[in-house]
Amino acid sequence: MLSVAGLTVRFRHRTGAATAVEDVTMTVARGEIHGLVGESGAGKSTIGAAIMGLLPPAGEIAAGDMRLGDTDLRTLSAAQAHHLRGKRISMIFQDPQTSLDPLMTIGDQLVETILAHEDIPAEAALTRAVDLLEEIGIANARARIRSYPHQFSGGMRQRVVIALALCTNPELIIADEPTTALDVAVQAQVLDLIRKLAETRGIGFILITHDIGVIAQIADRVTVLRDGKVVEQGDTARVLGAPEHPYTKALMAAVPPLDRRLRRFAVPRVEGEAETTDLTAPAREAEDWLMSGAGGGASMGPALDIEAITVRFTGERRGLFGPRESFVALDDVTMSVRPGTVMGLVGESGSGKSTLAKVIAALVHPAAGEMRLDGAALAPMRRRTRKDPSRRVIQMVFQDPYSSLNSRHKVLSILTEPLRLYGLERDEARQDRLARAMLALVGLPAEVADRYPHQFSGGQRQRIAVARALLSRPGLLICDEPTSALDVSIQAQILNLLKELQTKFGLTTLFISHDLAVVRQMSDDITVLKDGKLVETGPSEAFFDGPRHAYSRDLLAQTPTVRFR
């Protein structure tokens, strides 16, 4: 149905032109789900945009053929292309929050789309819209059609987006990361829906995603892309089950398995990023420095006890004179992290994982409850002074490495800040030397210190963030989704690094993630939160072998796995 041959896309920019997609050939048959997978910058979305005829102004198709049925997509006039978009090819975007108009009822949006492409009476369009919503799994569609987007949950909203894409009976739907913004439970439902639509309606899907688990779950065929080129293409089971190309193999090795715990990921060295300098000598120096702070020998992180922590956020006023409704973000949560171990903290978005981390880090004040660090009371936010010793002991690695480092400071000044702040090293030359040594410990060359954060990739930035945390000589490290903004191969490297450092220095670690497979790789114990309440807490291996709680079982079952029967 859709055939793309030799597609090459170039982007002009001020220093010349860059090839974003090179010589890509692929086909999508009726009812087939074709996965496009690759890491950021691989050109996945560019291919989708080129097929849709929605390349940004700087982009141009330099070569190749694109045909949908017997229509040549490259020779269309602007008006024809406009008609074709929506009518024969539709698109589903990543974020259902922004792809619906918040000021129109979903009914109006559906009817508008249908009428834009077909000359039928408005009532007929409305009937069609209701039918569509029912087909898509929205109960009581006749009443719900008058609702606004904000009255639907995230998953329901993504269904409405899919209904919008369906309402003109397209032959091809391009879904660009359709489930990336969704929780696993909702993701599983949306993926089921896509699968069903491909089967019942014979719609061809191009599923663009960075998540190999999603591909493994529903794609019939898959194209693995790297730097705009096709690396490997074929049946999903064959490509992912028995990859031939070294890149695909490396990619598969980097995917954290849900069913077992790896000691470390087999991360092949990426070409072009070869380590030219030997980092072991300075790394040893940083190691010695870290060890010496704990009084030598067997350093061990502190024990952390959380007792009956409750957090309320003040919400909106109901009326002009009404009281503010408060929102309970954490409800009576009690858990403890054993010294020198990793506690995995999992839950869906809104479950309160990050809030708990912020309570411990003194960024959020709890309404009730107590915290203890190695038996001694740990003051909550409003009572924790700037000079409190726990400020140094507790360090955090944030989710987004693009915002956690100040882009106006050089890496060196970012790294030496904790040394100065906590008075760990007063001599400037020593500070400089230690910062560079610490970079070696996290796998970066010393020259890195003289550059600015924006000159690094996400993975490198996260390494810098880890180095900053270590330079406080911490005992308790809080990692808040440290790898969820990273590509899978980079994630594997960072997880390896964190594991290594944790075991070497006996850091007590609170590891927060929405991804159970990642948590399994990292943690000794595990705590599950749901809607601010504790579901269960206990040893990790026992949890993964057979969770006690029904909610945990669902969570486990819905996590996509890369396994083939």
């Binding site: 001020r14 960024l363 002074t385 409190d388 915002s403 956690s404 100040n406």
Partner: protein, 302 residues
């Protein structure tokens, strides 16, 4: 080396493709240079009574019938060279405007940073004061300060302080812009992880504001500073035009225009038009530069 790197930045590249910005920059540089260097490059010194004579009064510009090669833009009724008067006047206008803008910048940014960072009661107080300030037109503020200072200061002291009074008046009507922008940007930055990390580590709030947040919000502030410089020049001209501003013996552009008003319909058009055109060109150029900077710092407008 530094220059070579600067030439490769995106800003320079965008600048080189924006003819309006280039023209505006050239005009601004020429005008500012002319004003700053007035004592050295102006043909005569308009403050020096011995340097001009009534005989040369009301001569038209060089290209008009009866123009005198000594006076490129003609002379006023006292025989003063218009070009020299304008250069000296622009110098005074620019000094007042820059100092006023500087005061407004420091005051507004400090208050805005603190309000945005601490929030709560401090934020409420600062912003309500700003709202009140915003409800008063700039000219009214200036007239008010001038009036009060006239009332409480002895006459001689007031005359000596006229320059300070007008500068303060302009600064007071401009600080709100800086405060609001700084506060809004600080709110955004405050919730970013690098600031959260700094708070968590227990760094001093002053250090977080100045070392971490401030460098990240200078972009929009720079744009406002540029546009406000133009506003300050205009405001000073308006006040001087109304006679609130500077005394006639040290004329700024506004004073020159006020004096020129008397000749509006008399046939000696240049006495009014030369300083007016000069003022318009200067303000438009600075505003165009401000527009360019705004586009530069707002990628979504590119």
């Amino acid at each position: 080396m530094m220059l070579a790197r600067l030439m490769q930045t995106e800003g320079v590249w965008l600048f080189s493709r924006n003819p309006a910005a280039i023209l505006a920059a050239i005009v601004t540089i020429v005008v500012v240079a002319g004003a700053v260097l007035a004592p050295w490059i102006a043909p005569t010194n308009p403050y020096d009574l011995s340097s001009f004579s009534l005989i040369d009064g009301l001569l038209p510009p060089l290209w008009e019938q009866g123009g005198d090669p000594r006076f490129l833009l003609g002379t006023d009724d006292q025989g003063r060279d218009m070009l020299s008067s304008i250069l000296y006047g622009a110098r005074l206008s620019l000094i007042i405007a820059s100092v006023a803008m500087g005061i407004a910048l420091v005051l507004g940014v400090s208050l805005g940073l603190a309000a945005g960072f601490f929030g709560g009661r401090l934020d409420a107080i600062v912003m309500r004061v700003a709202d009140v300030q915003l409800a008063l037109p700039a000219i009214l503020t200036a007239l008010l300060i001038d009036g009060i200072s006239r009332g409480i200061l002895p006459r001689e002291v007031h005359d000596d302080l006229r320059l300070a009074v007008i500068t303060l008046a302009i600064a007071l009507s401009l600080w709100v812009n800086f405060a609001r922008t700084a506060r809004a940007s600080t709110f955004v930055e405050r919730n970013k992880d690098y600031v959260q990390a700094a708070i968590m580590m227990g760094q001093h709030p002053l250090r977080i504001m100045l070392r971490h947040i401030l460098p990240n919000i200078v972009g929009p502030l720079l744009v406002i500073a540029t546009v406000d410089l133009a506003s300050a020049i205009l405001l000073e001209a308006t006040l001087s035009f109304l006679g609130v501003g500077l005394p006639a013996d040290s004329p700024s552009l506004g004073t020159l225009i006020r004096i020129g008003m008397q000749y509006l319909l008399s046939g000696e058009w240049w006495i009014l038009w030369m300083p007016t055109v000069f003022l318009v060109v200067l303000v438009v150029s600075i505003n165009l530069l401000g527009d360019f900077l705004r586009d530069l710092f707002n990628p979504s407008l590119r």
